[in-house]
């Protein structure tokens, strides 16, 4: 349909204006505010001990959450699509739950389960293991919120490709692991890749749930997003924006990776 030029341009510029106001301007402001006092200040802000510790903690949570969620995501996808487990609809709904839960509610749930008086928390406390107000709590929060992505990306792919090849391999005598490794895995590699990138992006940015379960001990249980908030609260605008800049750059790199992957796949 060839719309008249006017219509096309109107739509285009409304869209761009909307994006500018909502997306591009805020993004630009992050850069602008961070560099307000020069690049040296940004550098010293990012290398401040608390900032480095916050970055390390954030990365630690990602390094634990992403592989775990990838392995279990793939496993979940396989079980959902290729097995005869009863109650699959229920499990399917469970996979989606992290999408439906407010981050604050995630934090609350973790406190109820792993807190001092929690269902499992009491046992952990007796064993001297602290979860809430300590790093494990933060890791659990990040795992929860970033859980569904790999499964959600892999399931449709598995469904689409069908199990013909796998059945053929089975007929030829290949065992389960070989089949998985040589036939299934290559077929789902794009799904897994998308899933990993999405999981990583989500894990890096988690804030609300961590707010509830972290004791905010600077340098110890403060993630980079929490650090951004703290710097803002203590009049350190450049520090806050520098950390934000770092997070924004990581976010943009994530988007770039997604884009490249989409192009490579097609």
């Amino acid at each position: 349909m060839n719309g008249s030029r006017l219509v096309r341009w109107t739509l285009r510029y409304i869209a761009l204006a909307y994006l500018f106001a909502l997306l591009l301007l805020p993004l630009g402001v992050i850069f602008d505010e961070a560099f307000k006092e020069g690049i040296g200040e940004v550098f010293s802000a990012i290398t401040a001990p608390d900032a480095v510790a916050a970055l390390k903690l954030t990365l630690l949570t990602v390094i634990i959450a992403v592989p775990l969620n990838t392995v279990f995501g793939v496993l979940t996808a396989l079980v959902m699509v290729r097995s005869n487990l009863p109650g699959k609809r229920f499990l399917n709904a469970l996979i989606d739950v992290p999408f439906a839960v407010s981050p604050i509610v995630v934090g609350l749930a973790l406190v109820l389960v792993y807190g001092q008086n929690g269902w499992l928390g009491e046992a952990f406390m007796e064993a001297g293991i602290k979860i809430i107000f300590s790093t494990p709590g933060i890791v659990l929060a990040v795992i929860f919120v970033s859980m569904p992505f790999v499964a959600r990306e892999v399931i449709p792919v598995l469904q689409e490709i069908g199990d013909d090849q796998e059945k053929a391999a089975e007929t030829l005598g290949a065992n389960g692991w070989t089949t998985f490794w040589r036939i299934t895995l290559p077929a789902i590699r794009w799904g897994i890749s998308y899933g990993i990138v999405l999981t990583t992006a989500r894990a890096l940015g988690e804030f609300g749930a961590v707010t509830v379960v972290s004791g905010r001990v600077s340098g110890e249980t403060e993630t980079l997003p929490l650090y951004v908030q703290k710097q803002f609260e203590t009049f350190n605008s450049v520090g806050s924006y520098s950390a934000s800049l770092l997070l924004a750059v990581i976010a943009l790199v994530t988007l770039l990776a997604l884009n490249l992957m989409r192009r490579k796949e097609n």
């Binding site: 030829l172 001990v217 803002f232 009049f235």
Partner: protein
């Protein structure tokens, strides 16, 4: 490609998976336990405090302490937030060896849970490490000409004050308004109405005194009710604000204590904070020393009419019950009334 493999290989790989899981679990747990391995050997002060003294501690008091004999080699871990929130966090298991809150009930909570000794108040300054007063922070030039709490109840005035159920500072603010009304001869009910009139004018009720300050600086409201030390901190950070000390206000007494199993370093730190050197550093950072000899009247003037203390109203235990009990306290009721009126 080998098409026949022993069952062992299959099982082996799945067993590896389970092992990897267990290993991961161990890592997670290990991270947790090592976090608070700060007992016994290491001389670490685990500081948990309310929101406003963050810079005072991190940039002045802790470095100064580390320069002293007793403070050499001592490490600090710091956590700051709304006084009530922080106190409840420690009660719920957050590691702490030294606590400093905005009001006494936040320490009493920890006495009740057995984390702070009952004798924490048995010293020269009754457990109070710094003072301040409730002040009103206004825009440069004071465009709305605010001079007293009464002015804050005006029709076109917007006031920022924190949420009294998460912030200790907010409770002091409310008691200051109440005290001012009482001093003017109003009855208890009228005084509460005065509080209500001001609470009605709030465009924001942030969770802590520090966030309230940030919200005010971010443009919300014509005035902020806050600790004098917050106003000074803002000015020291280069923010363009003025503050006034109302004719009648209340003395903010900020308690500190060590926990029952705190290492010696924490006790030494608290002693340092009470020493002349420590008190002078507090004074430089906007806090009124508890040692009256060290209070500079020009920097820290007294209110023109009267300076109340919480003791005038029966102490925090009584006030907390009467005013701030979440179901039956007067302030909770005011909040509800305001809420219903707002609908």
């Amino acid at each position: 490609m080998s098409l026949s493999s022993p069952i062992k290989k299959r099982r082996g790989i799945q067993a590896l998976l389970v092992l990897a899981l267990v290993a991961l679990g161990a890592i997670i747990v290990g991270c947790g336990s090592s976090d608070d391995g700060g007992d016994g050997g290491s001389a670490k002060v685990q500081l948990v405090a309310y929101s406003t003294p963050q810079q005072a501690y991190e940039q002045a008091l802790e470095p100064a302490f580390k320069d002293t004999e007793t403070g050499k080699g001592v490490e600090f871990s710091n956590s700051f937030g709304g006084s009530g929130d922080q106190s409840r966090a420690v009660e719920a298991g957050q590691a702490a060896s030294y606590v400093n809150f905005a009001l006494e009930t936040d320490v009493t909570r920890l006495v009740k849970s057995g984390q702070v000794a009952k004798t924490w108040k048995d010293n020269k300054y009754k457990g109070i490490v710094t003072n301040s007063v409730v002040s009103i922070v206004v825009r440069p030039g004071n465009p709305k000409n605010i001079k007293s709490f009464d002015d804050l109840a005006g029709d076109d005035v917007e006031v920022v004050t924190p949420n009294p159920f998460s912030s200790g500072g907010a409770r002091w603010n409310i008691m200051a308004i109440y005290a001012d009304a009482i001093e003017q001869g109003k009855s208890k009910k009228q005084a509460l109405d005065a509080v209500k009139a001001i609470l009605k004018n709030t465009p924001a009720q942030p969770e802590s005194a520090r966030v309230a300050l940030q919200t005010f600086l971010g443009g919300a409201g014509d005035a902020l009710i806050s600790y004098e030390n917050e106003a000074i901190a803002a000015q020291q950070a280069g923010e363009d604000v003025e503050y006034i000390i109302p004719d009648t206000t209340i003395l903010i007494e900020q308690p500190a204590a060590v926990t029952v199993d705190a290492p010696q370093s924490s006790i030494d730190f608290l002693d340092f904070l009470w020493s002349d050197e420590g008190q002078k550093i507090w004074a430089e950072n906007g806090y009124r020393p508890v040692n009256p000899a060290l209070v500079d009247e020009t920097q820290y003037p007294s209110p023109a009419t009267k300076l109340y203390t919480i003791a005038d109203f029966g102490g925090w235990d009584k006030v907390a019950d009467e005013f701030f009990d979440e179901e039956n306290g007067s302030i909770a009721k005011i909040n509800e009334e305001l809420g219903v009126e707002a609908e």
